[in-house]
Structure formats: C-alpha cells, structure tokens
Symmetry: D3
C-alpha cells in the first residue's frame, strides 16, 4: 500500500465531507486553539487503519497535526481502548474527524469480518480470499483490511490477473483454445485461472495445465472430487455463496482457497468515537 496513492483520494474525501468549510466550528471555535483527540473503541474488534490511514487523514487536513499514539493494525480492541491520539488545531481535528472515523470503522469492520472466516477454518491449510466486489474507490484500502484480518488478496484489477470465465470460453470454443490464446498474449509472470462449473471442465483445465481452477458454486461433494482429481497439479479455489455457516464445510473439502465477496461488500462497520480534550 503506497502512501502517495492514498493521499490523493483522502484529499478528495475531505473535500466531499467539508465542502467549502465547517461553518459551525469556524464560527464558534477560536482559530488557533490546540487540542488532543482520541479514538475510543466502543466494542471488540480487529484494529485496522490506525497505523497509516487515520494518521494520513489528519495529516492531509493539516500537516501540523501530530499523531502521538496508535494501536497496531491486527491487534484486538476492547471497549474503551484508546486506538489513536492526535494533537493539533482543534478546527482541523474536527474537520478530519468524520472522514477518519468513517474510514477506520469500515476497515475495522472488514478486518473483523474476515477474521471470523479465518478463525472458522483454522487450522486447515486453506486461505480466505477477497474478490473484486469492493466498494468503488476504496479497493486498495479494503484489500489491505482483508490482509489485516488474516485473509489474502485475489487479483487487484482486470489488468493484473487472468480469470477465464464462461463468456471467454464460449467465445474461443473451448477451455483449451482460450488458455492457448492467453498463453500467447499475457506476460509470462502471470498465472492463468479458469472458472469451472462441472467436473468435465475441471478435467479440461487440468489437461491444459492451468495454474488455478475456480470451482464456481459447486457442492462440497463435488469440490472434494475435484481436489482428488487435481492431485496437486493445480491450485483450487472455491467460490460462490459461501458464508460463516458453510465455510468450514467448504474448507474441509481440501481446496486451497476460498473467495468470499461478502468480506468487502457486506461487513458491518465497527463502532469507534472521537473524544476531544483541550490542552
């Protein structure tokens, strides 16, 4: 996660929330008052965004704000924990407050939700993956939160990973033809993943040595069969309709990866508040 990539987005988010200025605070607070703001956990969750994201929000609003304490990402927060302390002009602390909270509450939510899936499949050697079902504009951050929660990332965008789906197969005539066309065109640094919905397709994938087979919406029994069939010749990724109730069963089939869109599109936010003290 490159800091400079984030900065531009955060500046834009601040403008969205502040508009032409914080009318209430600018009218009621002395312009040069300095204060200390603390982020307080109002529940138990996996911490995410305190080390880089929230500090960057404050610093983008005003570089003079100092971050004097942050709880480590990946650590566990309990109600009442102080997650971050920032010191600077009160006006700027208040202008940055809402964006900083909106971001970290969302990221902690994703990290926490991910960690529940990760815990559910322990100690099996399977990895929990995210998908491209992320919030528009927040992909880098959300994929970071998945890692913080113990998950792993699938491809970042359409240009840095190959995933041959039924439309592509249909257009080329067969999996074999599609894979051959890909091999000719893509960088040699990339693996080829193919989506399979039947055992026949799994077989065709194996016969042309694809690197990864995505088992799309298969029953666990079928996945187990695919694992046996592959025998280590390809990585297997389960995908489709997986939730906290059925993830253990999927993991026990022996697949290498389980990808879950809900990690990023349906994780509820964690509750964090900002407390301000004068100094």
């Amino acid at each position: 996660m490159d800091v400079n990539v984030l900065k531009k987005n955060i500046a834009r988010f601040l403008r969205e929330d502040i508009g032409s200025g914080d009318l209430t605070s600018e009218a009621t607070l002395p312009e040069d008052q300095v204060g200390i703001a603390e982020f307080i956990a109002k529940g138990s969750f996996v911490v995410c965004g305190m080390e880089t994201v929230a500090p960057l929000v404050f610093k983008t609003q005003n570089e003079a704000i100092e971050i004097t304490h942050t709880k480590k990402d990946k650590s566990l927060a309990s109600p009442g924990d102080i997650l971050l302390t920032a010191k600077g002009p009160v006006l700027d602390l208040l202008k940055a407050e809402r964006l900083a909270l909106n971001l970290v509450q969302h990221l902690c939510g994703i990290a926490t939700f991910t960690s529940r899936f990760v815990n559910e499949v322990k100690p099996l050697p399977v990895k929990i993956l995210d998908t491209r079902k992320t919030t528009p504009g927040l992909r880098i951050l959300e994929k970071y939160a998945v890692r913080v929660g113990g998950g792993h990332n699938h491809r970042f965008n359409l240009a840095d990973g190959i995933l041959i789906k039924d439309n592509h197969i249909q257009a080329c005539g067969s999996i074999k033809a599609a894979v051959a066309r890909m091999r000719e065109k893509i960088p040699h640094t990339m693996k080829i993943e193919v989506e399979a919905t039947t055992m026949e397709q799994v077989r065709e994938c194996l016969s042309c040595s694809v690197d990864i087979i995505m088992l799309d919406n298969m029953e666990p029994a079928r996945m187990r069969e695919a694992v046996k069939l592959a025998g280590g010749r390809a990585l297997l990724e389960a995908s489709g309709g997986i939730n906290l109730d059925n993830v253990r069963g999927v993991a026990e089939t022996g697949v290498d990866y389980i990808s879950i869109g809900a990690l990023t599109h349906s994780a509820p936010a964690c509750d964090i508040s900002m407390r301000l003290q004068d100094i």
Copy 2:
C-alpha cells in the same frame, strides 16, 4: 443528483477496476462483437440505481452502449426479475460489469435497509434520516439511495448545515452564546441545529429559539418529555444507537426525525448478477 457530478467519479472507479485493460477479455474475445447484458435480481429488494447510475457506468465505459430497459428506482424486485438490459460491444459490457454491479448492489442494499426502518415506523408522522456516516467518495449516491428507500437526508456536508455539538458549546461557554455567534455569521438561509443530551440543554435550546434540537442518546422516556416541553417550538431529532428493534419505540415518543448512521455504513449488499447473451 447532478449527472455531471457523477461522471467524473465513475470514470475514476472504472480505472480502479480495469487498470490498464481487461487482459483476459481482450485476449479471448473478438474486438467488435456486440452482445446484450441483463441484470438479474437474485433476491427481493428495493430497486436503486437502475435509472441513472448503472446506465452511466456503461455509457462512461463506452457511449455506444444502449440501455434498452431499466426497472424503476423505488420499485420492488423479486428473484429472477430483469432489472436492466444493455446492448453494446461485449468487451465494454464486461469491463463495466463489476463496477455497475458493485454500485447497484450497494445502493439497493441501502435503499432496502432504509425501507425496513421506514416500514417499522409507519404510519407515524416521523421521518427517517441518514447521517454523514457514509462511505467516503459515495455520499451523493448513498444519500440518493436513502431517499429511494423512503428516508430523508440530513445535511450533505459541513458547509451546508449547522450542527452545534458539545465541543462548540464548551468553546463558547453556553448554548446561548454559541447560537448567538452562529446567528451573526451564517447565511440567513440556514437553520440552526443543536445537540442536547440533557433536559436542561433542551430548555436552553428552546429559550434561544434554535430551529432543531438533536436529542443525543436519550432514553425514550426523556424524548417523550422533550417533545412535550418543546410543544412544537422546535423540530426534534432523535439520534444515537437506534436499530430495527428499538426504532418503533423511539418513533412513538413523538419526535419529528430519527437519524440512523447504520443506513449507510452497515447495510448488507443485495445480490444481483449479470447475464450476457450474444446477438
């Protein structure tokens, strides 16, 4: 919701998802193939984003894509319903697919979640409001989704609404002093809202004729008391810790508005898929 305001964001979101190109599709699909894509509902929910947002995603990717059918925003979708039909180059339909789905699944989620709160308080004359706890970068869209779900919008940003909170009160010495300072500085077109946590504060608000009093984290019994005390001299807004289980109780206290952050930060996504047909 101004279309031009959205266009720039959608172009940026497309770049986030597509990167330098869709390697898989560009390698496997004929460049000039035209197809028809349909959005299919996989559950029951309030439709949002089909009239303006999804079409704009497709058109931003390629202006030549035609939208030949859309289900009205605010209508109800049942599993299997066709929500939108788009016709154009298959390559561009696929490039726009993920972003369009990510957006409408999120917006339908918010509209649907909002409608549940709205239904819960019917037929009481109270209005359900959103907050500034929105997803960074998506505020305009999310506030639109709240309206589609039957809710109403609170202020859009710090510059277009006044909300005097405890920090401002403290800095000015009293609610009265803070309100006086605001009256001197803000446009006369704006109302003044003050956050109150005690009955004493409610009384102070009424004594200096604030337009709206936000009852922050009060017990329903207290709210009822505040409603009585105000007697129509100010609008009352309940806020803090309100969910589907307790919203009815809050509504019955007689407050005019109930604001709920979860509408925008914790609504689960709705399930929609895209089906592609050649032509």
Copy 3:
C-alpha cells in the same frame, strides 16, 4: 474558508500565469538569491486577503517563503502602508507576485465596495448580502471578501439553499404547491426562500409559512407594505437594482436583508504594488 480547498485553485492559477517558467527572471537572476518583498497600498481601502490568501500564494509557489508581516483583514489601509512582507528566493517572489497582487487587489476591491454599502445603511438593523453573481472559480474567496467588508453571505451554491422562483412556481401551479413539494424533499435543516414580485405572492408565502421572502424588484413603498404585512412571521430580503444611491431608501423600509450582485461582479480593483529589496 478551508485552506485545503484554496490550495488546489492557487496552484492552478500559478500555472496559468507562469506557464512553463518565468523566462525573463530565470535568465537574469541568480538562482539562489534571497530577497524581501513588500506589498504597498497605493490608496485607501479595506484590507482583505493578507492573512490567508496572499501568504498561501507565496507558500504554494515555494514553501520556503516566510511571511513575516501581514496587515489584518478588515483593517483600513492608507496610501503607503505596508500590507505584507515576504522573505524568500527572489525568483519565487517574482513568480508569485502577479497572482498574489491580482487576487488581493480584487478582494480588497470587493471588501471596500461592500463596506460602502454597509456604511450607507448604518445603524439600521439590515444586513447587506451577496448573491451567486460571483466570478467563476473565485466564489469562496469573493464571499469571504464580502464578509470582510461587513456584509453577509447568501447561499453558496444551488445545493445548499432553497430559492423558489417564478419558473418553479409556474411548474407546480402555485407557491403553496411548490413549497409543499420542497418540504417533502429537502433536508429539514434548510429554510425555504421564495421570490415574490407582488403583494399577493407575499401573502401566499406567509400563508404557507415560508422562512424567507425575497421581494424582487419592488418599489420601496411596496416593500414597506410587505414588512408590515409580514409582521415578523418571515424574514424579508430586498433584491434587484440596488445601488449606493438607493440602498438607504431600501434599508429604511424595514426589510431584514438587501442582496446586491454588484458587490462581487462590479467592484473596481484596489491599487497595490510589490516592492522588492535584496538582502
């Protein structure tokens, strides 16, 4: 006025004026020479832009420039007064000179012109307002200059204030219908203003409790009648064709506000020059 909102515009303005570089200065001045620049008043006027705007221009050109003296905004300048002192690389002082002067001469012009209207109506309890007739790209700054001159701001843009005009009334059938439709849709934090050109319309406005009535191009006699009719039930704003010659008469009708487009679109610039000293 949020500093970060200004920075982006100032950077763009600098590029407009500098292009790919200051060919003359880069060829003739030693690259690392440091100097002191002073802004000198060449007339009498209300100071505006010295505390925030001009310093930001210099700092955007080169953060190493130090601002060692500024005359307070709202104070009065006399010919010869030193309004600002900046110290830094001469090359950057010269590159920032023209933009800084263009901005402050314009802002001092608006503040000074506004103050003439404000003085004209003293000590009546009426407030002088600006309009949306601002210079494209400079609205935040110009509205700030109006405040510095003792005036007040009307709405900032179409999204943060409601103003129902004849087109809207016509489309809805009546003022009453238009107001009802607005009440249903807008945030409860917003007041409703309606433009009225006849006494009948003023009456209709009062009957549906609009917050503000704009008396559009009315004769003073009519305004006086409207003030009496309203009796404090709505705020009254006079608008249209008001200048330094007739503003006193308008103020004496008892209206609460007088809005004047000329404050921002026709204020002549004040004369300020920059004097450079080596050190």
Copy 4:
C-alpha cells in the same frame, strides 16, 4: 482560443455553482420537461461570449442542449436584444444559467470597456493592450474579450514573452548586460521588451537594439521625447496609470502601444438576463 482548453474550466465552474445538485429545481420541475431560454440585453454594450463561451457552458451541462441563435461577438447590443437562444431540458437550462450569465456579463463588460478606450484614440495608429492583471483562472477568456473590444493582447504568461524590469536590470548590473544574457538563453522567436523609466534608460535600450521599450509611468512630454529619440528603431509601449481621461493624450505622443490593466481588472459587468419559455 482552443475549445478543449475551455471545457475543463467550464466543467469546474459548473460544479462550483451547482454543488451536489439544484435542490430547488430538482424538487419542483418535471425531470424531462424541455424549454427554450433566451438571453436578453438590459443595456447597450459590445457583445462577447455568445458565439463560443455561453454555448459551451450549456453544452457542458448537457450535450443535448441546442443553441439555435447567437448574436455575433463584436456586434453591438441594445436593450431588449435577444443575444442567444438555447433549447433543451429546463432543469439543465436552469443549472447552466447562472454560470453562463456570470461569464458573458463579465466578458461583455471587458469588451465594452476596452472599446471605449479604442474609440477614444481613434483614428491614431496606436493599439490598446491588456496586461497580466487578469482575473485568476479567466485569462484566456478575458484576453479574448479584449480582442473582441478592439484591443490587442500583451504576452499571455511569463513563459511566452520577455519583459526585463528594474529587478532584472539591477541583478545584471545594466540593461545591456541583462539583454545580453536574455539573447543567450531565450528562443530566437521571441522579442525582447525592456521597461524604462528614464530617458537615459530609453537610450540604453536603443543602443542594444531591444525590440520593444515600455515607457513606465512617464509624463506625455517625456513619451513624446522618447518617440522622437527612437525614430522607429524600437516599438514603444506606454504603461501605468492610464484611464479614459488621459488615454487620448498618451496616444497623441506617438507611442505604438498603450497597455492598461483596468481593461481586465476593473471593467463593470454588463446586465443580461435569461428568460425561460416552456414549449
């Protein structure tokens, strides 16, 4: 004036004025109503901005708006003249109205003010020039308006014209040294202009063959002397403190150019209004 250069600025100006949407119009007007808008002159002035600028504002708001009539730039408008007719969605006509009017009222103001200076010096062979004292962000447009008013443009920015002033001369030791250094470094396509405040400096300029001499704040008598001295060996430009009262006198000295900052920084706006008709 390149159209693509304008488009980006106009889009930004529209966002400044519209914010997240036109709340009043969006709530009261039917979304798909089409109408005709006319710009009406409320005074006599030189027309500027009707051919390119105003149409571009409407088209940037919505490409579907058709411009069916425009009065030619440079023509003279009389009260009541229809300057432009636009047809399209009423919602978009209203959103574009304020920006389009703000721009053309300003540009007509500059063209008209310029034309007064031009008329004042007729039929002498002197040209009226603008300066870099333009409104930040509007330079291209304002310089266009000067040409429409019969004036001519000085350099556009610091990179496309050479103007050696006293600071540069001082740093190099003499005009001669400064000119020599410029000759070594600048493109051969550029002329060299030097600011002179004394006859001695004029002589030094002539001795090193500068192309243009700016006579800075000189008395007409001195200018006359400089004209004689130069005898056609350099172009002469009068500058500093020139207004409608003294411009004729300056012109009669025989200088080739007269540059006037007030053309762009102090021209009062012309009055134009928009009238909307349903169809």
Copy 5:
C-alpha cells in the same frame, strides 16, 4: 489497452503542444474550412498506432474528425504508403498533427526495433520481452508497440509482478527466506520471479520452486548451464546488455525469454509526415 485510459493522457498531451491556442493557424485559416489529412510513410517500418492511437488524438481534439482509412498495426509500411486519412476542420487537423505524428513515429520506432530482435532469433522458441525501462507517461503505449513488433510484455508495474532482486534477498537473508515471505503475502494468481547472478543462486531458486529465474548479466555459457540445470522446472529469462549483435547467441542457449530495455528506451523514431488537402 483500454481506450478510456488513453483519452485522459492524450488530452493532456494536446494541451502541452497547443497551449492556449494555435496562434498561427487561428489567425490565417478560415474557422470552418474542412480538409483531408494523410499520414505518409517516409521509410520502411512496422506500422503501429494507426488503428487506435492516432485516431484517438484527432477525435480528442475534435470529435467531428472522421478517420476514413488506417493501415493495420503490425503491417509493413513502404515509403510513400498512406498510413491514415482523416477528414475534418483544418484547424483541428493542424492542432492534432504534431502530437499524432510524435506518438506514431515513436511507436512505429519501437515496433520496428522490436521486430528486428524478433527476426534475429527466429525460429527459436524464445520470446523477446520489454522491461520497465519505458518513457515516463507512455508505458501502456510502448508496451503495446512491443507486442505489435512481435515481442511480449514483462510486468506492467511494481504491483502486478513479483521480481526478487539482490536487495530483497539480502534483507531476508536468503532466496529461500525471501520466497517464503512472498508466498505468504502475495495473491496466489501471481508467479514469483527471482534474479540470479550465479549458478548457486539458480540452484537455490530451483530448490524453492520459483516460477521464473532471471539470469542477470550472465555469459551465454553460464546460461546454457542454467538451462540444463533447470530442466524445465522453471522459466528462464536472460537479461542485461543484450543487443542486436549478441541476441542470437543468447537465444541459442535455450532460455525461454530475453528481456531488453533498449526496445523502449533507445528505439529511433520512424519518419512519417502529414499532407493536407483542401476539399
């Protein structure tokens, strides 16, 4: 190569070349004259950029320009060949001319230079690769030109390919440790490439099953040895100091890929001119 990704860059490039307008053409050509422009080959080379890039330049300048003929990318041009025909306003054809030529001359240069390397190693089963040594701002286009010339692309940026170099190895203590750390963190869709400078390192790479080994600045004899050692267990990429004189020798060692920075940083431009005809 996604068209929308290019558009923004091309618009910026046009502004770089045109500035505030084409003074010469705007002053001398009738505004509405329509003409036909033809791109003519002045040498023999591999065509690149005629199908997408040059048309996009013309269309970005003015959408009304029609492209009526283009020679296919990858085809061979001979002196005098017409490579592209565009029809539209002469003013816009001339404004787009320089940028369109600068781009296609550069891209044809890269495609042609690449094809010389590709021909040199025929019919060996080795692939010619580019590197990240591209011209800043033009990477997508240059990598496209490499493919047009018969070459293949290495990773696009630091985020879409793994390449472990000596700094990384040193920091982790060993290749093995570095690879293990990568495996834990990167998406499973990515291969791991490691740079090796000695046979010992090649062995270590093979022992921990890296996907690709980059043989950095090795002698052909060593490469041959590495090929033998690898025995197909990893892909081998030769890199460093390879030119037209030695590429055949490298290819004959049996490596799978040869990466060459000069393809993009040192290809001489091809000569193409634009001929304009009135109609």
Copy 6:
C-alpha cells in the same frame, strides 16, 4: 523550468510505475530501514537531470529523502562516476529508482546527443535548435536537456511562437497576405517566422520584413544563396533532414540556426545504474 510544473507530472509518473504498491519490496524489506542509494555512470556522457529532476523524483516519493550529492548538469561523466547520492527509507528509494533512472538516462541521452551536434559546428556562430518533435508529456524536460547539451530552444508550443507554413500561405493567398494577417492579430512581443522552400519565397519573406525565415529542406548551395540574399535583414533557420554527417556543411552556409528533430526523438539513452547500501 518551474519546479511546481514538474511536480504534478512526476507524481503521475510514479503512480504509473508503482501502481498500487511495490509488492516485492513491501513484502521483503523492513518498513523503516534507511539506506543510501548512488547513481553510477556506466559510460561517458553529458550529465543532465541530477540537480533538479532526479532529486524531485525522490522527494515526491517521500519528502524525507535527502539528496546529499549531485553532479552538476552540463558536466561530463566518466564510467564509474557517482552522479547522485540519496539517503532515506530503502522502500522509497526503490520505489523511486526506476522512474528516476528512466528520466535521467533519457535526459542525459538528449544532452549528450545535442552536444555532439554542437561540437560538430564549433566554432561557427550558428546555434543548434530543437523542435516540437518531443516525447509527449516530457517537452519541458527535453527542452531543458537540449539547453544542457549546448543547444537552444525553438518555440515551446503553438501559442508562444508564430510559424507560417505552406498551409497557412495557401489559405491566405500569399506570404505577404499571411504575414499581414498575423501582424494584425498577434501580440507585438512575438516575432514572425515563415517557412520557405524556394528562393522566390525567401525573397517574398524579405520584402515583407519577416523576422525569421525557415529554409525547409534546402540544399546547402541554396542556403548559401539565401544567406547572401538576406544580408542580415532576417534570421535564417535551416531545417529538415539534418544529421551528424551533414550538419557541418549546413553550418558553413552561414545560417543562424539549425533545427533538428532527432535531438529529442531519436537520442539513445545513457546507461546509469543505482547502487544501494544499507547504513
């Protein structure tokens, strides 16, 4: 060359090369390790870009990077010379490495190639000029490199120089007519250059006192004739098909300038590498 103009481009170039992050380095290097990086010359060439460009790349990636040594632009580098030393977080040194090297290798290439032409024509009083045949997006930098190599710049863009070519002449009917139209419209600070392909055209240019005549693709004998004909009344610029083999002959004709597109479009890159040391 204005630093602020460069910064925006460099930030964009960094994003092109880094994408969402440097996966390899972020996974293998400790986040807070500090190191020293040195740029080493791998050949003999004219240094360009060490004083401003490369430092700006490092500082844009991370302001905390310190540049402790740079070899002066215009100096000569020999193999093994240390050209620049930077100290800072290793992660950021590595992220900036490729862009910094790509830029300086390209700029040194242009400076070196230019210096070869300059040396070839010494000690004749002719100047070597660049053209608008630059790499899109890099014009400011490439024109700087030409100056570092001892060359001079032609106009920067279409707005800051006049060059009347055959299309313009044809449209106006004659050189004389074209020049007259230019004189009427352009800033008086600009010279007029006309492209001539025949002696007759040269004569026509002289008869209407153009400032510069570009002799387009003329034989040296013809150029000599033109020089004689002009007799100092206009500057003469040779252009078209000039290379290292024939430039001396052209210079000896007595022309004042020789413009060469190859300086910027076909200079091979110089070889520079970065060496990293821990501290």
